[in-house]
């Protein structure tokens, strides 16, 4: 009897964190169901669950909505996890792949590919763009890190200013490329800037799955060491953590996540800032839970945002990047105020 009550009492059976993860998973299922049902042709959720679908509905589902839902979930998860990882790496809750220039590094590389390499067909082209974007974000990470090491610390101000500089440089590069590109390339470039999961097809999903899932697993495998790194690099060393290796892994995984996201969906901002923050507020900063919870919550958020951006201006649709920036911008300002109120200077 005693063991039974122990087993059933929620605090023993499921910690708060595990319950939060379960809640997120159910939210993801709901978000996917709602996303699958909404659109120009509505499919009732009950029919979705029971599988009672007409042939046209099935085609809409497998051909259009499912790949889009998969892609938004994967990219949302990837961006949220990259935010969490970068924040841990820089020991700084204000890091976001968009703000500190990692995304624009990827963006510049994609623009270079579009204008100079032309487009390769199918999966090969998608992988090509992804690799270029990965290298672009890796270069940006490397740049930020090298400068941070030179000055010897990772202050918020410093990191954000570094991001401003990298963003400006990348923007100048993309602007120049737009200037020399032809009409078709120009259209492709400007679509990229806005960020959208529209037009997602199964090849994109395949590319996303094969890159994002391993990258998230790599981060998860390093999550305990990432906790220790928060104490400081010397402390991590004293505890026997190979901090150089952990940092390398984190940067690699982040660059993969951001790179493939930018290559497949363009610039979708602020997911990496908002999601880890909400997760920390709920279950604390332990990376062993922060990483998986951010992945799932990012998937929920971007899937929900994409559904809203599809429905809100029907029959057309708004690029989801506009919506995430609309929510994320004020959130970032609020964080800045919270971070710096009561301090003298920045």
């Amino acid at each position: 009897m005693k063991t039974l009550t122990l087993y059933l009492s929620p605090s023993n059976w499921l910690s708060d964190r595990r319950r939060f993860l379960l809640l997120l998973v159910s939210l993801l299922i709901i978000a996917v169901l709602v996303g699958a049902s909404q659109g120009p042709s509505k499919i009732p959720i009950l029919d979705l669950v029971s599988g009672n679908l007409s042939e046209i509905q099935q085609q809409i589902l497998t051909g259009i909505r499912l790949p889009r839902l998969f892609l938004s979930s994967l990219v949302g998860g990837a961006l949220a996890v990259s935010g969490a990882a970068l924040q841990g790496l820089f020991r700084n809750p204000l890091a976001d792949p968009g703000l500190i220039g990692v995304s624009s590094g990827a963006n510049l590389a994609v623009a270079l590919m579009i204008v100079f390499a032309g487009s390769l067909p199918g999966m090969l082209g998608l992988y090509g763009l992804s690799i270029a974007a990965f290298l672009g974000s890796l270069a940006a990470c490397f740049l930020i890190f090298t400068f941070a090491m030179k000055t010897g610390h990772f202050s918020v101000t410093y990191m954000l200013l570094c991001g401003v500089a990298i963003n400006a440089l990348a923007m100048a590069g993309v602007g120049f490329l737009a200037f020399v590109s032809d009409d078709q390339q120009l259209r492709a470039l400007s679509m990229w800037q806005m960020g959208s999961v529209g037009g997602a097809l199964w090849p994109s999903v395949m590319v996303a799955v094969t890159v994002i899932i391993p990258a998230i697993l790599l981060l998860f495998a390093n999550s305990k060491a990432m906790n220790i790194l928060i104490l400081g690099e010397d402390e991590a060393k004293y505890l026997g953590v190979d901090s150089e290796k952990v940092k390398r892994n984190v940067i690699l995984a982040t660059a993969l996540c951001v790179g493939v996201s930018v290559a497949l969906t363009g610039l979708i901002g602020f997911v990496g800032l908002v999601v880890p923050h909400l997760v920390r507020l709920t279950i604390g900063p332990d990376h062993r839970f922060l990483i998986p919870a951010s992945a799932i919550m990012g998937a929920v958020l971007l899937t929900a945002a994409d559904t809203v951006s599809r429905v809100i201006v029907a029959p057309t649709e708004m690029p989801v990047g506009i919506l995430t920036s609309l929510i994320g911008g004020p959130f970032f300002l609020w964080l800045l105020i919270r971070q710096f109120s009561g301090r003298i200077g920045i």
Binding site: L231, D234, Y238, L239, D242, R280, P285
Partner: protein
Amino acid sequence: MIEIDRLSLELKGHSILKNISAGIDKGSFTAILGPNGAGKSTFMKCLTGSEKGFTGTVRLDGKKLSDYGLKEMASKRAVLSQRFQVEFPFTVEEVITMGRYDKDLGTTVKRQEQILEEVLASVDAIHLRNRIFPSLSGGEQQRVQLARVLAQIWGEEERYLFLDEPTSALDLKHQVAVLKLVRQLCYDKGYTIIAVLHDLNLAKAVSDHVILLKNGGLYASGSTNSLLSPRYINTTYGIELEELKDPETGVSYLFHKDFYT
């Protein structure tokens, strides 16, 4: 046993440590003393394996520091740094558990809980267990960090414990309590304590040996009784201290003459 042989360090063209040779006996309490900027913290970083760019050799138990792996070092010594900043809202319990990184696999949950409770109790921080670390006061943070550092080597014997100004943020009561605690670990568990200290009378009370640094060089090294006297201290720090002996206990204190003349 730590043997330091002609240790020198240059950073960005500046000579930080100059040709230091000294020995630290196993199971002793060694205080590192000296004026600001004498190189105390850097000297300690060389001994802990954090600063590797030095010339000369440092041997820990007969083996060169450069021959140790990270994990092997982590099982031999623990280090309390002077500054720590935790930007994320980890709880005190989580911070202390980090000290058990890599060690929890071999211990039962019951033992982990026991270690957590013991280290918390040892620094008078049981009541802080569920608090958010960054919200604590400086002194509380320092005690919790000490508990984390102790957790790394808790229950083991003959470990090395490096402490960089372990009492800098503590009130008088906790200064005494913390130094008594590490002194006790030195006696009971055979720990070798190496601590950068500022309060000379506290150093006099707890340490066996003293390493006096000045301008990056070794000024003197030897037993506490012989070195912590006005003769050495006044020239190291450039001050005027006088020694006063309590006739009843025979204990002597150092005090600033300037204030009383």
